[in-house]
């Protein structure tokens, strides 16, 4: 890989990190850090995945993988709810909103102007489906000492947005 390509990869990744940080900090009122490296992945931790399909202009998918205790902390923090008030439906709602906002903000990196884009409705479930550590399009974050992940899939995200390349 050339020096230019490495620099572009770094800029691209940094931009993705900034978008995820600003989006989720606004929702959760909690500080989000980019993890320096992948942490040890504990298979036994209960996790949720939230996904949203990008349908236009190119196909893609954006996923968030988040441990249950983190979703619970956000619910308690933002909605002033006790643990026993948080049902499965509300966990799904919280994650659905989070992936919606992250996806909308990420798409504005690629489609900043007059051109439209289309994305589907969020889907939320348990389990991760993907081996995060072997996925090159995964970024690990840290919220309150708990790791979570953003994963970008598909043609839509195979190249950095044009405005990053121009910088």
């Amino acid at each position: 890989m050339t020096d230019d390509a490495v620099l572009l990869d770094q800029k691209y990744r940094q931009k993705l990190v900034e978008v995820v940080q600003s989006s989720l900090e606004e929702i959760g009122f909690m500080e989000i850090l980019e993890a320096p490296d992948f942490s040890n992945y504990d298979e036994d931790i209960e996790r949720y995945r939230a996904a949203i399909l990008i349908n236009d202009p190119l196909p893609g998918e954006i996923r968030l993988i988040m441990p249950k205790n983190l979703v619970q902390a956000i619910g308690e923090n933002v909605y002033a709810m006790e643990e026993e008030e948080l049902s499965e439906e509300l966990y799904n709602d919280i994650l659905g909103e989070m992936i919606n906002v992250v996806a909308g903000n990420l798409m504005r990196l690629w489609i900043p102007g007059e051109e439209g884009f289309a994305m589907g409705l969020p889907s939320v479930g348990q389990g991760t489906y993907l081996k995060i550590h072997t996925n090159t399009n995964a970024i690990e974050f840290d919220m309150e000492g708990t790791p979570f992940w953003l994963i970008l899939l598909g043609e839509m995200f195979s190249k950095p947005p044009a405005n990053i390349e121009e910088n």
């Binding site: 606004e26 509300l90 659905g96 906002v101 909308g104 102007g113 884009f117």
Partner: protein, 128 residues
Amino acid sequence: MTQQILIVDDSKMARMYVHRCLEMSGLEEAEFLEAENGKIALSIMEEQEIHIVVSDVNMPEMDGKTMLKWMRSNEKLREIPVIFITSVNNMAKIKELVMLGARSVLSKPVSPSSLIPVIEKLMGKGEK
């Protein structure tokens, strides 16, 4: 007269959050009604006197854009102001919704500081 505000979003948490933001935007005396999608919202609007609709765009069954089109083609509902709160908020989407008659298009997550000027403008217009 008590203002009746209809919040439309398929997410219960989002409805709760918007409700709280609206109360903090000077509408603490208002009565709030909720709908999970555009279809349910339209049936509520037919039965009740709604003063402002605050709606998501992407929803199952009937999305916000289709709901707005139905409202504009209905004599009883066409003058109700609609504020959209959406994550799909680029210039193309804003233009499209405004062309259809949306009063304002705000980004998710919404905050009281982004809602206050919109609500104040709508309330001021209502008093004239």
